[in-house]
Symmetry: C2
Subunit: 480 residues, 2 copies
């Protein structure tokens, strides 16, 4: 959240010709109602909304192409929209324009169980997908918490709890249908598991946040549902002990499916939010997938590693109900954090470091959080700063949930500075400013700090593929 908030002054009204044409093309699926526009000008970030001038609900790739061509002809920005769960201001209409809602493109087009692939429209959500394919014996593992659309998840290169074993959207997208800035439609990739045929356009669009083209269809990998599945909760004497346990687990090649760290504050918050009674200590939620023998072997290995570091209370959740309760609580952590103070918003940080540096990065960050909180209380007696820490620590990725009162400028300033120091710390350790949330509007300056001269290559690509600068302008890179 390091970009100054833009003003509405950059906005030009939609040309009348565009409005008339959109009405005729989309009928009731074209809207300029305030409520609809407001809903589409925000995401889950703390940014106040910047609504688009209009919203269009598309139902096919052809409709998207029609819209993009029309918008290009009139130099109107287009901002693709899934279900609005992004976290870095990706959906704000910085220059007005049209929000292109893809949530009605929600058809699962082809399940190929023999090939472990599925082709979907971009508006299919991950829960919908897993529900529709549950009888195939396969599942789609990427789980960013929110029930995001697959198009949105590809656009932000999402990952989440299962990435340590199954990879991120980068590894799991095989092919895309993309509408280019010109309105031309291309297919990237095939259904083959690998290819050396030309430039990797699939990976270029994955993570491009709607700024290089609009993803309308995806073919993604599926994975066999594990024969056996077991979850465990383990408490540690410190965050460092928890992190070191996971580091050694990874280094030994134990194919753990999930390992999620939650600090004592987070456990307290989810206890209250989800009516649990977990001891309020640094805790790791583990999940193991495989054959019954493999799961047993993995869990025994991890239990032994944890015990050496004071890990206690390996509690097993082997029934689906217990597991669901546990992971639902984990997924509610964001809302649990929000619930710690009424009417506040949460800044979710997102650094990812090499795992050898993770324990240090977390420890230094905990000290910084305590100092920041003390400074806020000194500067602003009404202030506070509840901060939760949780992480996909098998990947070296962790989030602070910084719960700010946006009406208190001291808190806002200190929280932003805390995030900046955190990013600088991660970069100095060979890490990245964002493991999975993306750049959006919130991390524009961090992109430069992280990539240096490579940002000019990104700008070259943007200019080459979107010369008019109309696709989600001002995200990933500042508008020219």
């Amino acid at each position: 959240m390091n970009a100054p908030l833009p003003t509405q002054a950059m906005r030009k009204p939609l040309p009348v010709a565009v409005v008339e044409k959109l009405k005729s093309l989309f009928g009731e699926r074209f809207s300029t109602a305030d409520a609809v526009r407001d809903h589409h000008g925000r995401d889950e970030s703390p940014y106040p909304p910047l609504p688009p001038d209009a919203v269009v609900f598309a139902r096919s790739t052809d409709e998207v192409a029609d819209l993009v061509r029309l918008a290009a002809a009139h130099r109107v920005p287009v901002i693709p929209y899934g279900v609005g769960t992004s976290l870095e201001g990706h959906l704000l209409a910085l220059e007005g324009g049209i929000s292109l809602d893809l949530s009605q493109m929600n058809q699962v087009l082809a399940v190929n169980p023999e090939d472990l692939t599925v082709t979907v429209q971009a508006g299919v959500t991950r829960k919908q997908l897993n529900n529709e394919i549950k009888d195939s014996g396969l599942f789609f593992p990427i789980d960013p918490g929110a029930d995001a659309t697959l198009g949105g998840m590809a656009a932000t290169r999402a990952s989440g709890t299962n990435a340590v074993r199954y990879g991120t959207m980068r590894e799991n997208v095989l092919a895309l249908v993309v509408v280019l800035a010109s309105g031309e439609v291309i297919r990237t990739g095939t259904r083959a598991r690998k290819s050396a045929a030309g430039y990797d356009l699939t990976r270029l669009f994955v993570g491009s946040e709607g700024t290089l083209g609009i993803i309308t269809e995806l073919t993604v990998r599926l994975h066999p549902q594990p024969e056996a599945l077991s979850a465990a909760v383990c408490r540690f004497p410190s965050v460092r002990a928890a992190v070191e346990t996971v580091i050694q687990t990874i280094q030994l090649g134990v194919p753990v499916a999930r390992c999620e760290l939650l600090d004592a504050v987070t456990i307290g918050a989810i206890n209250r939010h989800s009516k649990l009674a977990l001891p309020e200590a640094a805790t790791v939620f583990f999940e193991f997938h495989g054959s019954p023998a493999a799961v047993k072997e993995q869990t025994e290995s991890v239990e032994a590693i944890a015990a050496e570091r004071g890990g206690a209370g390996f509690e097993w959740a082997t029934t689906p109900e217990e597991r669901t309760r546990l992971w639902t609580a984990r997924h509610q952590a964001y809302f649990a954090c929000m619930g710690m103070r009424p009417n506040c918003r949460v800044i979710s940080t997102d650094v990812c470091v090499p795992i050898s540096r993770l324990a240090d990065c977390v420890a230094e960050t905990e000290i910084d959080v305590a100092a920041t909180r003390a400074r806020i209380v000194a500067r602003s007696p009404a202030g506070g700063l509840p901060v939760t820490l949780l992480g996909h620590i098998g990947d070296g990725n962790f989030h602070l949930g910084i719960n700010i009162d946006t009406a208190n400028p001291v808190e806002v300033e200190e929280a932003e500075n805390l995030n900046e120091r955190l990013v600088a710390r991660a970069l100095a350790m060979g890490g990245t400013s964002t493991g999975e949330h993306g750049i959006g509007l919130g991390k524009l300056d961090f992109l430069t700090a992280e990539h240096g001269a490579a940002v000019s290559v990104m700008r070259t690509l943007k200019r080459a593929l979107d010369p008019g600068g109309l696709l989600n302008p001002g995200k990933v890179l500042r508008a020219d």
Copy 2:
């Protein structure tokens, strides 16, 4: 091999100023000797060599940048060269210019065992790397057969026998140092396991075959050496039975590390080449990695699946010596194929299809091979056409080794037509023209057949990043 061979007429001599400057910069590491130029104007493809005008042996990224800037100023092409093991004419100097030999950039720069990463110069070969890190408990799994450089493997998005479990270069490269066409040096990515920070430049350069920039350093993932390792050889009554066994293995989620199909002709060739006495039948070489219990479980699963399809003679090679003998023989298959006829060259095809179509693709191809051979014998009594078939079938990828007498135009024509039909068959089945060898010069037309309108996006990227068209011109895309 579908591109007409270019003539030497496109060549302009190197400007004298360039020659003088290169002499002063590189001394004895600059050469225009015929033998050196000839060696650098060829690869392992059947193309006759097209030597560059000069060869430069670089030792640092700065030297590469100096060379590229000098070449750009004088509009001289630059062709990066590793150890010359590519298979599609990647290294031929279509427009003359300078071959940039990176094999002396062979330093392992940093091993980070805790993070399972290593940073190397581009000229480090995979065997050298594994030798240098063998005491770390880790290994680098990508194994294309040849002892290629990591820079070359990244540039062609190589994979090979272990990809079914460990992925390809696409999944295993974390970050690159790249010299751009301008001579500017950029770093893509960090050492974090994942990132959502901006466009995926790493994946853009991986597979770009030296046409968008020159890779001089790589950070790649390492993997823990498996605690237990077992190899097995299994004969099948038909290629189809072998393929179906592997398909079911993959669909059940058995994490097999390698599964390589060799048809009866290939087995015969490697028997003669490597002094083995394997029964000449369709055969799969399996390898299993994991804990002792996991390896046992995997092998029992696969043995049961194979038995249902007539797989017989599951022969175990559990000692390192036996395994090495087996895999050495497998890796010698290319040379074994070459040894089937003296003074011939081998066209290696490379399609990859969704695994549900693999059995059909192989069966139709076997029929096509038999018909092609019959046609050749009818047209050219001296002709023949030994064809071996082997494949990384867990990925749906298989190669024909078509052994042609390049002096016999009937064989050359029939072999090229056979490959074209094979590619068309794979594309019609939702596959790709090249699973791992790349486009080079040999598959330019196939790229268009496979990607359609997306090729124009590739051309846009090429023009944006190499506006002078001087980086490995005429590869991946025809020169403008």
